[in-house]
Amino acid sequence: MAVLLFSAEQQQKFDSGLVEILSHYPADRKSAAMLPALRLLQSLKGWLPPAGLEQVAERLGTTREKAYEVATFYVMFFTRQPGKYVLDVCTNLSCSLRGAEKVLAALEQKLGLKAGSANDRFTLRETECLASCGTGPCLQVNEDHHESLTPAKLDALVATFT
């Protein structure tokens, strides 16, 4: 038997979430809701599984190919399951001037993982400017920003990872 995409509760959240989203678009422009719909799917599943992309495409009256095109264009969408913690270190100029490369090196060492790779627990990436340049260096963990990092702050943060 095929594995169900959603539990009953998730399906209900997905359906009602989609109704709310679509209420803000013209009735003949459903496919415009692609980004909010994919965000909704990812919030429920942690990533964008193929069956989910198909369901989104169907509900928005568009094709699976269009859904994939969008899903693969934006870095915050995952078409493969990421680690439990996605760590994005901003290494753009302002953060690098304030030691971002040292943050990245420290994380590589602490997690035993190279930037740009992943295991079940962690996905470690360099990322572009996060609009925290005045409070750099900045690290985004899943979607939360940790700013003005110091070695002590970073240690404390890493200690919270389960």
Partner: protein
């Protein structure tokens, strides 16, 4: 230094500044009432007279842009609020959303009334989890208080304001890529003309304005265009938010007079507070990483559109990045170049192919493998994307190409010796630690 009355930041730091009650307690939504008592065209006139110019990057006169929306058009008019804030060195819109979201919402309400627009979309960058949540709370408050919805503050004028969150793509800050993304597509910019004010979202007239731009609108309606224009210079009304980062003692967002100079910004005790101990300014990016760099002897310039244009650079998004004398500029430029290679959407050949080439040549020079002819090759590649000067000669559909080429042209021409010495010495003269020598991780 010129002191200026605060327009955008006046409520920051006040308890409850991000709530409706807090906003109302300082006169919030009074400007909307004043606007609703006038004809929509009068509101646009007032904004025209205020000399408000766009704060998203190009500095385009806001009232004039609104005036481009066709008068007798049968289609709906849309407002797209640009909260994508992704230009490196820029972090002001985020603070507006966090500290005073109703200031933006009131600006949106007034703008929609002036444009006869009943649907506004706020496109915020995907990484703004906290700011987006604050904004959604404020939108919900405005609905609950009858400011938005079926009526606009009691007047029969339906208005829906909806936040759409992006998903991590710098290009979606470019106005036509933003519209593509709002239409549920990947962010590939459109050829202009037609401009969005004529053919925008869903083929209908659409005004695209930056968050800070719209946050200025309430004060213009409340205090009058003449007052607002008087705060600024002849061609540019109001104040500006400046985002200061890099090698400086007090990085942060400062609301400045249009007449405040870069030197004042960096050294005034109430602003940047000077350089880290023992360090001197070497180079300053004045308007986000796309803006041509200035050297230390060019800082007596007002941080304003016309003055910076006269220096062959731009006020851009207000992101000022300071680099000190211990910072390697080859490495700095390499990092900037990598950003544009990473974020090029891939639509136009000069940008798609040229940006990785720039990055590879810079890496080679920084890693001590530079050869004679590399700088010429680098400048040739940059010129293929966009010749310089002046700004705006790009060979690509959108200005990301210009943004990628301008730093290369300006860093290399102003700091040629530093590039040459990397090649001559076959190594980075700054050694293995060319940056990150101050701040919490030093």
């Amino acid at each position: 230094m010129i002191e200026v009355e605060k327009v955008i930041t006046k409520n920051w730091g006040r308890p409850g500044s991000n709530t409706l009650d807090g906003y109302r307690s300082t006169g919030g939504y009074r400007a909307l009432e004043k606007a609703l008592a006038q004809a929509p065209a009068q509101v646009t006139e007032e904004v025209k007279r205020s000399n408000l110019r766009g704060r998203g990057g190009a500095g385009f006169p806001t009232g004039m842009k609104w005036g481009f929306v066709p008068k007798d058009n049968p289609k709906p008019v849309y407002l797209a609020v640009n909260a994508d804030e992704s230009e490196p060195g820029t972090f002001k819109d985020r603070y507006i959303l966090e500290n005073d979201p109703h200031l933006l919402l009131e600006g949106i309400a007034i703008t929609c009334y002036a444009l006869n627009c009943h649907q506004a979309y706020i496109y915020s960058r995907g990484e703004f989890k906290g700011p987006s949540a604050t904004l959604d709370r404020a939108i919900a408050e405005a609905y609950a208080a009858g400011i938005f919805g079926k009526q606009l503050m009691g007047k029969p004028f339906a208005l829906d304001v909806y936040q759409v969150r992006g998903a991590g793509a710098y290009i979606c800050g470019e106005e036509t890529a933003l519209l593509e993304s709002l239409e549920g597509k990947k962010g590939w910019p459109r050829l202009k003309p037609p401009f969005p004010a004529v053919v925008g979202l869903f083929g209908a007239p659409t005004v695209v304005n930056n968050v800070e731009t719209l946050a200025n609108v309430p004060a213009i309606l409340d205090r009058g265009a003449a007052w607002y224009a008087g705060l600024g210079t002849e061609k540019s009304g109001g104040t500006r938010l400046i985002c200061l980062s890099g090698s400086v003692n007090r990085p942060g967002v400062y609301e400045c007079s249009m007449k405040t100079t870069l030197k004042e910004l960096i050294f005034e005790p109430t602003l940047g507070g000077g350089m880290p101990p023992g360090r001197q300014v070497k180079a300053v990016i004045p308007g986000g990483s796309s803006a041509p760099v200035l050297s230390a002897d060019e800082l007596d310039v007002a941080m304003e559109f016309e003055a910076l244009k006269a220096k062959n650079t731009m006020a851009g998004s207000g992101g000022v990045i300071v680099m000190d004398d211990a910072t390697c500029l080859v490495r700095s430029l390499w990092r900037v170049a990598r950003f544009y290679a990473e974020e090029s959407c891939g639509q136009c050949t000069p940008c798609r192919e040229g940006t990785p080439w720039q990055t590879r040549i810079l890496r080679k020079i920084e890693e001590g493998r530079g050869e004679a002819g590399d700088l010429e090759l680098l400048l040739h590649v940059a010129s293929t994307i966009a010749p310089f000067p002046p700004i705006g000669l790009g060979n690509t559909i959108c200005a990301l190409g210009d943004a990628a080429a301008l730093p290369v042209h300006s860093f290399v021409s102003k700091f040629k010796l530093e590039f040459q010495s990397h090649i001559a010495q076959r190594k980075c003269p700054f050694g293995d630690a060319p940056w990150g020598h101050f701040g919490g991780f030093a």
